[in-house]
């Protein structure tokens, strides 16, 4: 299948932040059946991230506040080059920054090193002055997307925040500014408190909720965007089995990203979901995923 200029063997993609440092990890995920992989979010400078606890389990999901740990694009360029020698699926590099220039600089270096596409993380809920602050403002978001679009020639994906009043407004801003595709959604702002010690558990206090808990919200976000535009969408949020993936296709996504389920199931969750989706399509007499994208809107 073709997705926003990328040739994908299947519509399951590794979400950013999961196993995304080393080329070998990304390669293992690809062997687990992923149609493409997204790296950890990479910035201009190295960041060590937050102290533990950085992940805490909630009732039906995980809350994480890693703090964007990453080695910086200059060091990570080497890993991108190495990953390209191991991978047979597209490599999407996730990029974050504190200004439009940051985003553009990192994106350019990532593409120069061999990235097949760039995903802008404008929606990290737990690091100040980047991520959500940009992803929650149409003005900042347009500025960043325009600047990156003008700098690179590879497909540009924008990962949207669900922590907004109307996601379609931000989706519109990203598409108008030149985004080739949208990922909906990043994690939801959340926290956990321990009753015994009366303390917040995450060292950063607040983090982002992922997993089954956010699936209905992510599904609604994809629906809201699809209602307004015909832009390629990657659904993301709590997808754990083939049925979840199919629901996102029906809502309007043409591909899905999987993150937390790599922990819930394991690395071969991609293969399991792909098998299930194919069985579903056959049983329902559909020829391809494309035929069911947005189908729920047509009734």
């Amino acid at each position: 299948m073709s997705f926003a200029g990328l040739a994908l063997e299947n519509p399951t993609i590794l979400a950013s932040g999961i196993l995304g440092y080393s080329a070998e990890s990304l390669s293992r995920v690809a062997k687990g059946g992923a149609g493409a992989v997204v790296t950890k979010s990479i910035g201009v400078e190295p960041r060590v991230g937050y102290a533990n606890p950085t992940v805490v389990q909630a009732e039906s999901g995980l809350i994480n506040a890693m703090g964007l740990p990453n080695p910086g694009i200059d060091v990570y360029s080497g890993e991108i080059r190495y990953a390209k020698t191991l991978l047979r699926v597209p490599l999407i590099v996730s990029v974050f920054g504190y200004s439009a220039e940051d985003y553009a600089n990192v994106a350019k270096k990532a593409v120069d090193a061999g990235a097949d596409a760039i995903e802008l993380n404008v929606s990290c809920p737990h690091v100040k002055q980047t991520g959500a602050e940009i992803g929650q403002s149409s003005k900042f978001l347009s500025e960043v997307v325009e600047k990156v679009k003008a700098t690179i020639s590879k497909p540009l994906i924008v990962k949207l925040s669900p922590n907004v009043a109307d996601i379609a407004v931000l989706a519109h801003a990203a598409v108008e500014a030149g985004a080739d595709a949208l990922t909906a959604v990043n994690t939801l702002k959340a926290m956990a408190i321990d009753a015994e010690t009366t303390q917040p558990i995450l060292s950063n206090i607040e983090g982002g909720l992922s997993g089954p808990a956010i699936k209905p919200i992510a599904l609604r976000c994809v629906w809201d965007i699809r209602e307004q535009f015909d832009v390629p969408i990657i659904g993301c949020g709590g997808i754990t089995d083939w049925r979840d993936a199919v629901e996102f296709f029906l809502a309007g996504a043409s591909a899905v990203q999987i993150g937390t389920a790599v922990g819930l199931v394991d690395v071969d969750v991609f293969r399991q979901i792909n098998r299930g989706v194919l069985t579903y399509l056959r049983k329902k007499h559909y020829g391809s995923v494309k035929e069911i994208v947005g189908l729920a809107h047509r009734q």
Binding site: L19, S22, E24, N52, M66, N70
Partner: protein
């Protein structure tokens, strides 16, 4: 994984005992961790400070013990705690040592000896012969000697210190080389500093002997998601911490050489 094991629990420290000038053992009440197998680990949450992985030293009747060496802020803080203090934990996580029969040899370095003490207690009744080589920098840091005397006889426990204050004055790998030349073993188990593990792996490979080694890495999520603790294609928290010789062969370019630092870049071990 959304499991009962990964849910963070807070519990009281039941007992604390000093093992050496730098190591204390903490006994915690936790039913889930008390079902752990030798080699598995728990994540301990020191509220307001940090959350770090520890191998399990022992389990019994709803209690789990871990030994903590004072090496940084979090462990220093732990050493100031007293019995009755509240601590958080989740786990147990990771793979465990397999139970081998016949003649087995366990090689521990420093606090890496802890999971091997747990293993030795479970194996002693089942194996034909259990030998243990333990190394430390100095006599005071030679851990769990009393426990080990209880599971192996005098002759099959060899201790080494770097300064010669107890046992043989050498690295733990020296008597091992002699043992492997002289005797046959059905399985070798090891845990300790990675440079030591690497040396032992090289020796067992030369002698074509099976090995299981427990490795350590910087850990964050503990459940195979974040990628902080990878060695090659493996996640130490989920695919390990116990690895077989066949798996170590696949990661020999990194074993004892490099790991990922806090920012995800490769740093020397």
């Amino acid at each position: 994984m959304l499991t009962a094991n990964n849910r963070i629990r807070t519990t009281e420290i039941v007992q604390i005992r000093a093992e050496s000038p730098t190591v204390k053992t903490f006994v915690l009440a936790d039913r889930a961790s008390a079902k752990a197998k030798p080699g598995q680990f728990v994540m301990l949450w020191i509220p307001g400070i940090d959350e770090i992985p520890f191998s399990i030293l022992d389990v019994s009747n709803g209690l789990v013990s871990v030994s903590v060496k004072e090496v940084g802020d979090a462990t220093r803080h732990m050493h100031t705690l007293e019995a009755g203090a509240t601590i958080g934990l989740r786990g147990p996580f990771g793979t465990s040592f397999t139970e081998s029969r016949g003649r087995v040899l366990l090689v521990g370095g420093g606090t890496g000896t802890a999971p091997l003490v747990f293993l030795a207690k479970q194996l002693s009744a089942k194996t034909e012969r259990l030998s243990f080589v333990e190394g430390a920098k100095t006599k005071d840091e030679l851990l769990f000697v009393r426990e080990l005397r209880g599971v192996c006889n005098e002759k099959s426990l060899i201790t080494t210190t770097e300064d010669g204050t107890a046992g043989l004055q050498c690295l733990v790998t020296e008597p091992l080389a002699n043992l492997l030349d002289k005797e046959h073993f059905d399985m070798i188990y090891t845990c300790g500093p990675e440079v030591m593990v690497k040396k032992i792996f090289e020796l067992t490979e030369q002698h074509k002997l099976p090995l299981e080694a427990s490795l350590e890495r910087l850990m964050r999520c503990g459940i195979g998601l974040c990628g902080s603790c990878v060695i090659g294609k493996y996640r130490v928290c989920r695919d390990g911490p116990v690895f077989t010789a066949a798996q170590l062969r696949e990661v020999k370019d990194e074993l004892g050489i490099s790991k990922l630092g806090f920012d995800g870049s490769r740093v020397p071990v």
